[in-house]
């Protein structure tokens, strides 16, 4: 300023007249320009700040999603039962999709379809067109490399079930957005599901992230889940069940293999089934895990519990004689029949030959309350709590409402209902020394303590009776396994429809082996076998035998009998049962 002022003086001194308002005017103009700049700077800094910050950030920072896949479901040795792999879907807004015929043809080649089909999808009256659904990432990359305007890709996960129909009902499947919809996938949704995270980074000119700015959401990877299922046993059980259901033209069937030491469910098969990888238009009823969600009247497979209760109360001993009334016992207006009329039977023979009259008479010698407690302790009427969604408790009415005839029929498994897993669980009482093991679908380590229900002595006595049932003179010689002593009980129960017993049957067999030190409990149920055969010993027994034999061999369980131990009775002399 001072120089300018001197300038004036000099100019004055030079004698050139300058207008007097020139300096103030120049000042004013410069001042205004300066004020304008300051104002603009203030405006940008304070008023318009947010918008500008945002625009700036968009140039150099970016929010990236951190993907998190869903956890795998594996079996007890780590074989995959369900796994998610990333796939891509290609989509476009119909009005933004702009491909030349040549581009469309190239895209069609990559997607293995025709240009006509692609064009039809885009021109359909939808805002949004999916051009390819869940295709492998490599294929999507080739499609995107064509750089067609308006074509977008989207990351998705697809769940695969390598086991297919074999373990379909246990594992279940996922539906939209990778969320569990059935089975374990549904029950363990929160464990398996991954939560994608996101973070903000600074990117360089090439678009690579160069610096982390902030984590917006930490990703939560889905956790893997190990089931108690053994894939090999699962397949084996399923194959044998399927063979039997096909052979006898049955409506449905179920099989459960339980580890007698730990209560783990090693295999659980159901028929009918479905393929979880291609489940469009599969009827809901095929998806049901019948072994856990459906109940049936167990029939004779309940008799060992009646006998065990009587042994516990001291009413009978294994060798006590029971008069079977020539195979017919009338209680009130109803009569109970035996398939084979026999003379007096020992308690052991009541189980071996599956005498209804014998079991009913033993049951009637006890108070209803005692029997109810025993059944309840065996887990009848309480859900098995395997961790599977929708499992049922079965039905065991309170003892107060039992009429004498009902008490008699309950002794041989009518008037109450169970699911197959409950039935198998109940037999752990005899497979151990009287403990009811908790059953689970999840892998556990080592033996699990059960709840003591009956005395060691009683459990062993009943185990001996059950072993007799699989020997000649019993109802289930076909359940024998070469090289192993087996114990088990048949069931041949008429089905109840409405309030009437029909001539449709449920054939079942529940047993365990090796009898000297039980390792596995196997329960088989065949629903409505047709074509003549319907006895538990003929229909379900052989399934038990082949599954148990192969399973024990696979698990390398030492034999406890010579291999020529299987003795089948001559044809025509088989012992059969009704219920």
């Amino acid at each position: 300023m001072s120089r300018a002022a001197t300038g004036f003086k000099r100019a004055d001194a030079a004698g050139i007249p300058l207008p007097r308002f020139r300096a103030p005017a120049l000042f004013g103009v410069l001042g205004l320009v300066f004020a304008g700049l300051v104002g603009r700077a203030l405006y940008l800094q304070w008023v318009d700040n947010d918008f500008l910050q945002e625009k700036g950030a968009a140039r150099f920072s970016r929010e990236i999603e951190i993907p998190a896949h869903r956890g795998r479901v594996v079996d007890r040795v780590g074989d995959v039962l369900a796994v998610s792999t990333p796939v891509k879907s290609l989509w476009a807004f119909s009005n933004q999709f702009d491909a030349t015929p040549a581009e469309l043809a190239a895209l069609a080649r990559v997607l293995e379809t025709t240009p006509q089909k692609l064009a039809a999808r885009v021109s359909a009256n939808e805002v949004y067109a999916v051009l390819a659904k869940q295709i492998p990432p490599e294929q999507a990359a080739r499609a995107m490399a064509l750089k067609i305007r308006g074509l977008n890709e989207q990351n998705e996960y697809r769940r695969y079930y390598p086991g297919g129909e074999v373990a379909a009902q246990i594992v279940g499947f996922t539906g939209d957005r990778d969320a569990g919809q059935e089975g374990i996938e549904l029950a363990q949704q929160s464990w398996l599901a991954g939560q994608p995270g996101s973070r903000r980074v600074i990117i360089n000119r090439r678009g690579d992230a160069v610096e982390d700015v902030a984590a917006i959401r930490a990703p939560q990877a889905g956790r893997d889940l190990a089931l108690s299922i053994d894939s090999r046993l699962q397949y084996l059980a399923f194959r044998e069940l399927k063979a039997a259901v096909d052979k006898f033209g049955a409506k449905a069937g179920g099989i459960v293999v339980i580890d007698a030491k730990s209560g783990e469910i090693l295999a659980l098969g159901n028929l009918p089934t479905y393929n979880p990888n291609a489940r469009n238009k599969v009827a809901r009823e095929r998806m049901r895990n019948r072994a856990l969600t459906d109940v049936f009247e167990p029939g004779s497979t309940m008799k060992p519990f009646t006998i065990a209760t009587a042994l516990e109360t001291g009413k009978v001993r294994p060798d006590s004689l029971i008069h079977t009334e020539a195979g017919a016992l009338t209680i009130g207006s109803a009569t109970i029949h035996d398939a084979h009329a026999a003379g007096p039977l020992t308690v052991e023979q009541v189980i071996q030959k599956s005498s209804n009259v014998g079991a009913a008479k033993i049951a009637l010698s006890m108070p209803a309350e005692t029997l109810w407690h025993a059944f309840s302790d065996a887990g009848i009427g309480t859900p098995p709590r395997t961790g599977f969604p929708g499992e049922v408790a079965g039905r065991l009415r309170p003892a107060k409402s039992w009429k004498p005839i009902e008490q008699a029929t309950m002794a041989y498994g009518h008037g109450l209902s169970v699911n197959l897993v409950q039935l198998a669980r109940a037999y752990t009482i005899f497979a151990t020394d009287g403990e009811l093991k908790p059953v689970t679908l999840f892998k556990t380590d080592g033996p699990v303590a059960g709840r003591p229900v009956v005395s060691t002595q009683t459990a062993r006595a009943v185990r001996k009776m059950l072993e007799m049932a699989t020997q000649p003179g019993g109802t289930a010689p076909k359940a024998q396994v070469p090289g192993y002593r087996v114990a088990g009980k048949t069931g041949t129960a008429r089905k109840l429809e409405g309030r009437v017993y029909t001539t449709k049957y449920v054939a079942s067999f529940v047993g365990f082996a090796p009898a000297s030190n039980p390792r596995l409990v196997v329960a088989v149920m065949i629903d409505e076998p047709s074509g003549g055969a319907y006895y538990g010993g003929d229909v379900a027994g052989p399934v038990f035998s082949s599954v148990m034999g192969s399973a024990l061999r696979m698990l390398a369980v030492p034999t406890d009998a010579p291999v020529n131990n299987v003795i089948l009775p001559p044809p025509g002399s088989e012992i059969r049962e009704e219920t």
């Binding site: 896949h69 074989d79 995959v80 792999t85 990333p86 297919g164 160069v210 090999r232 397949y235 084996l236």
Partner: protein
């Protein structure tokens, strides 16, 4: 005084340069980390795919089919099985 200033100037320049290099290093390492993370994810995905492949090829149904049909294997009947007791004296088995 001048000397002190010169020393301080030198220190300042050194600090400034080291800031620049460490910042550059940080970015370079970060890019490396990113690449590592990306390849981790990629390998994880590949692992899943391989596991899927393994269990598809190793499906018991498939193994059994090949054993029975291509290799003509079968289960021996019980009559042809002999069980050897691991605890029994060896001479007895010879």
């Amino acid at each position: 005084m001048v000397r002190l200033n010169l020393i301080l100037l030198g220190a300042l320049v050194a600090c400034a340069l080291s800031l620049v290099t460490s910042r550059h290093d940080a970015r370079r390492l970060f890019v490396e980390l990113e690449r590592g993370g990306a390849s981790l994810r990629q390998l994880d995905i590949e692992y899943g795919q391989l596991q899927l492949e393994q269990s598809t090829w190793g499906m018991p149904a498939r193994v059994e089919k090949i054993a029975r049909e291509n290799l003509r294997m079968q289960l021996p009947p019980a009559a042809r099985v002999e069980i050897v007791d691991a605890d029994a004296p060896r001479e007895g088995n010879r």
